[in-house]
Symmetry: C2
Amino acid sequence: MPARTTPAASPVRLAAETWESLFRAQVAVMRRLQSGPAFKNLAVNEYDVLFTLSRCPSGWLRLNELNDNVLLSQSSLSRLVERLEKRGLVARMPAPDDGRGVLVKLTDDGAELQKQIGREHVRDIAELVAPALTAAEQRELLRLTEKLRTSLPR
Amino acid sequence: MPARTTPAASPVRLAAETWESLFRAQVAVMRRLQSGPAFKNLAVNEYDVLFTLSRCPSGWLRLNELNDNVLLSQSSLSRLVERLEKRGLVARMPAPDDGRGVLVKLTDDGAELQKQIGREHVRDIAELVAPALTAAEQRELLRLTEKLRTSLPR
DNA sequence: TCGATTTACATGCATTTGCATCTATCAGTT
DNA sequence: AACTGATAGATGCAAATGCATGTAAATCGA
């Protein structure tokens, strides 16, 4: 019987323990991030939408594209964007090439708020991650998580 | 101006991109996991509580200890455990050494449900993670996320 | 081209969540 | 012991979330 500290014997166990560790790390970091002052006026999911829009080259994203980045149901995202629109942080318009679709983009206010919170947020992240891992380790973690994400089915 | 694909120049940028990638991977994997049949009758957070209790050597955990593992507010966890108790999956008792505290443990039903869902869950995880990363990469990802989590302040 | 199926998003409704606050207990000070 | 502040957990209440479903537009098949 293997000791509890032995790195997983079977492939299945190894995969499970890897995911478990990734998930716990995410929970631990996220808990600290969201308790910071950066998210006093905007929920993490809301910031995430603004952030995703800020990274989009064209500025416009479909609702279903946004939904790939956020861990929310379709209906919840729909209403989240509705709230952001009411607050004047995003604008919506019908997709020109698809009568069912909706395009979303940041307003000037939304872009400014994203940048302001983003600066604080990045600072908070660096204060947590940089002391924990060397630069080389961070690069490796970045590579592995990116590979994991892009290798998932669909 | 650095190309977008260049691995972050500054330490702050590197840390931010590392976290971003870790977070996106977590979202992508979690979305696939929670859509599976394993979580038809139990929310992920609820399973997480059962799982954490199943790993605890003594069987009993304080509510505030549970709260470290789950990304939920104190009040939400309090009510989540209340619901689990109503469903007969956990039992509570006042902490013997601290009149304010509450201890929680799995009931037999809870332990059985955890094992049953756990088996499915582990299978789902392995089907996602194993094809994406080699065993060596998984071990390295496990090591890095564990180091990150355990190196966080407090 | 017409009917059937699928896709994109919105909405009604019950459940879950978080914030603020409350109570009770504990720990430290005098 | 009495007082002060901190900590554990519960609860009222408003807001957010997800499920099931609805509507409309696109796609597919005959």
